[in-house]
Symmetry: C2
Subunit: 478 residues, 2 copies
């Protein structure tokens, strides 16, 4: 940690974000342009995200596998929209073992193509379907402008790839996985998200339909937080994934893909953080509560530290706990340090607490006196668990209220132009790409999604005034 | 699974190995030369290996992190032995986002260099040490001859990288991690290993000392199964990892690195497998017991399958269980299928078992009648757990006996030459590279390791007859 003051979010949101990532030691800049090193604290957060998702994937019948990072460049030519979308972003290996390669190898930007190639080999009959595979790995996209966690040349994610015998089953899978992402975002990351469908211009290169969850960040911009693609038979036809059905007819399979990345860490920082630093949702925090023993005189130290250790041993059975026994730094320094790192709950124990058989609890989501309470040693684990659940809920409520306060329903295009400067606009849209393009040119805002939740009925498109049957969210996005 | 017979190990060990990997669906050949796809069953095995190691790493204070796959090619020039060892094997990215890169990027073959670069940035004072970081990732080495799991262009592994204030602490760490690998190999993979030091010619490029665990495969060849390197100050000096000590003097740090890879899966296959297929050690098996319901008449089916389901529900609480309810294939087909996949225990339940309130247990490590017992429903979970522990122990004993039977102590060089054709030779060695080279040229055998366990005293070098203070293991290796 440097001694300089963290810029406030109002002053410079972007610099506040960069500084929080570095000072909380979530990540650092790598010596290669656009790449990041995820430091142990950031990686522990990612491991908790992985565990929460992996549990949900396995409960719905998915299994993990490991696919190679190298994909023959020619594979990208086989699906015409896919190649247009991804070719400009590829990193290409041309030399291996000191020699020029006969065919250059792309480093995967996403694995639909090599998955298609292998599934074609593995699938023979309807009995081999569905295939429900997920990969935890990293992918590479050559990005011009990068930002830690939000857009890096290499990033970590999971990519699910499934193949089914029918269109209906594949569509159902696509929606099921979006529901899992929604559930994860709301109940683990405490981030309210809008599940919906992407417009034609915003969908994945090669998909028939792209669904996404969209979240509002602390600067009122949108972040696409996970996507789930219904690929129809596009990749099955490009890579020849065919099966014999019950009537012994050759059929092409129907496929899906879906992903969530380390971007989610960026979302957590930007949704919950405050001017003091990070605030982590208790369900995902690597350290849920930090115990800070406080002493002035040397003779108090032994008793206070011993009790802190006892409490830690007890709480560790059910919570992720750290005891800060560092010497040579003040309690105030420790408080600031753990606040910067967003630990949801602080447990202070000093000589006075010792005398009263209690501790002082400080909630990270409520700075100052307001978040302080005294808690007895008796039943402390339950008190902490309850408090952590309250913090988890309060973070979700606060973020939901914030989004509500910054979402409007403008009645004219002039109002719309102001609205997307301040947050999201939820407006009737005819669905035409001309109106979408005009909005983008006039305001830099884009269609975020056409939410599943619709008012019903019809209205007038906010741009052209034609009759529209659906509302869409518009906003500036990361 | 194909219908063709699996070649026996005696007939063609190498082809037996390849076929087992493919038929058990552990892995498949990728469309890129030398790369593999780890299929869900193989990946589940790898996840269990990861969990068993990760638990040990965390218990000894290590934390995980994520480092980029790209390393500037110039980094490799900074440590002179490292560059000689790894330059010929690099895969190099020369194009990114459609443009030629100013500096080519190597894909990591191992991360000492980029670790050194970042640690130099992070370490300021003795208070920042030790750093105990581990990475779970994949690395790329351009290999000429490849074999699934044993030597692939891209492979999965963990690489630990630590930095310390003193040489003694770094040496202790190097040995601690070798102990962890030994403990894992013996107690989880049921593979007896020989921990020891590598000779000068066999050590890691850039290391001061390389320790390794060596195992004997089913064809009597050696497989180096994990390594732990004491790097001294070589990388600290090359990358300038310096810290201020307690007396305020600048000092170079002392570093280590250590790794275990998906090669371990190859070892498990080759140590335990038999002519029927894979045999997995129960501690790591993705499926510890498979329940096969058996019925002839349609009216038996419901009762048998219902009971199989009940048993599965009960056993699932403590074991990794699969029920094979497939229709249209015979019980015999299912038996063969799960034997090929090496599931340690089979639980058969048919109408006769139903009547007797029992099941038939079949141990994978004892084919035929010898491995069959009847077990009551009452206390079945404990019976299965006990049986699985017996299988785990018996696999370890069998492999230990096999190694003993194929390790000799030749008295003349002529005997030595015959001995290394049949297994390991444990012989006095003067430590000179000339003798080592002669052995390699005459027999293709190499120094596997100088074991920690030594007889004491001295003897005559098996090659030159000079006085030698240590014995070494020699053998042909993968």
């Amino acid at each position: 940690m440097t001694e300089d003051r963290l810029p406030s979010r109002a002053e410079d949101f972007s610099e506040w974000y960069n500084q929080v990532v570095l000072r909380a030691e979530l990540a650092d800049y790598a010596p290669v342009r656009g790449c990041m090193v995820v430091r142990p604290y950031g990686w522990a957060l990612w491991e908790n995200i992985q565990a929460a998702l992996d549990k949900r994937f396995k409960a719905t019948g998915h299994v993990n596998a490991g696919f190679p990072m190298f994909i023959p460049k020619s594979f990208f030519e086989k699906e015409k929209e896919h190649v247009e979308g991804f070719s400009p972003e590829l990193a290409v290996v041309t030399i291996g073992g000191g020699e020029e390669l006969e065919e250059p190898l792309a480093i995967r930007p996403t694995s639909e193509t090599i998955i298609g190639h292998m599934y074609a080999k593995w699938v023979k009959s309807y009995r081999d379907l569905p295939i429900l595979i997920n990969l935890w790995n990293s992918v590479v996209r050559w990005e011009k402008r990068t930002k830690l966690f939000l857009r890096t040349t290499e990033f970590y994610w999971q990519e699910g790839h499934t193949a089914h015998a029918t269109a209906a089953e594949a569509e159902e899978e696509t929606r099921r996985m979006l529901d899992i992402y929604t559930d994860f975002a709301v109940n683990e990351a405490a981030i309210p998200v809008i599940p919906g469908e992407k417009s034609e211009s915003e969908k994945f290169a090669g998909a028939v339909i792209t669904y996404a969850i969209e979240a509002m960040m602390g600067d009122c911009k949108a972040l696409q937080s996970a996507t789930s693609h219904y690929l129809g038979q596009n990749f099955a036809k490009a890579f020849n994934i065919q099966y014999l059905d019950v009537q012994n007819n050759q059929q092409f399979a129907w496929t899906t893909s879906w992903g969530l990345s380390t971007r989610m860490i960026g979302a957590i920082i930007m949704v919950h953080g405050d001017d003091t630093g990070l605030i982590l949702p208790p369900h995902l925090a690597p350290i849920q509560a930090v115990i800070v023993p406080i002493w002035k005189k040397e003779e108090e130290k032994t008793a206070v530290c011993e009790k802190a250790g006892q409490i830690a041993d007890e709480l560790q059975k059910t919570l992720r706990i750290k005891v800060d026994l560092r010497e040579g730094v003040t309690p105030g320094f420790k408080f600031n340090d753990w606040e910067m790192r967003g630990v949801p709950l602080r447990i202070e124990i000093g000589p006075r607490d010792l005398a009263a058989s209690s501790v002082t609890l400080s909630r990270r989501d409520r700075p100052g006196r307001e978040g302080k309470t005294t808690a007895a040693w008796e039943g402390l684990a339950q008190t902490c668990q309850r408090t952590l659940e309250e913090i988890q809920q309060s973070l979700l409520e606060r973020a939901t209220q914030f989004r509500k306060d910054h979402t409007s329903d403008p009645t004219t295009y002039e109002e719309f132009r102001t609205a997307v400067e301040k947050g999201f606009a939820l407006s009737w849209w005819c669905g035409g790409s001309a109106c979408e393009t005009k909005i983008k040119e006039d305001t830099k805002a884009t269609t975020r999604c056409i939410p599943f939740e619709q008012p019903g009925g019809t209205g007038r498109c906010i741009v052209c005034g034609m009759e529209a049957s659906k509302k869409a969210y518009f906003g500036k996005a990361y």
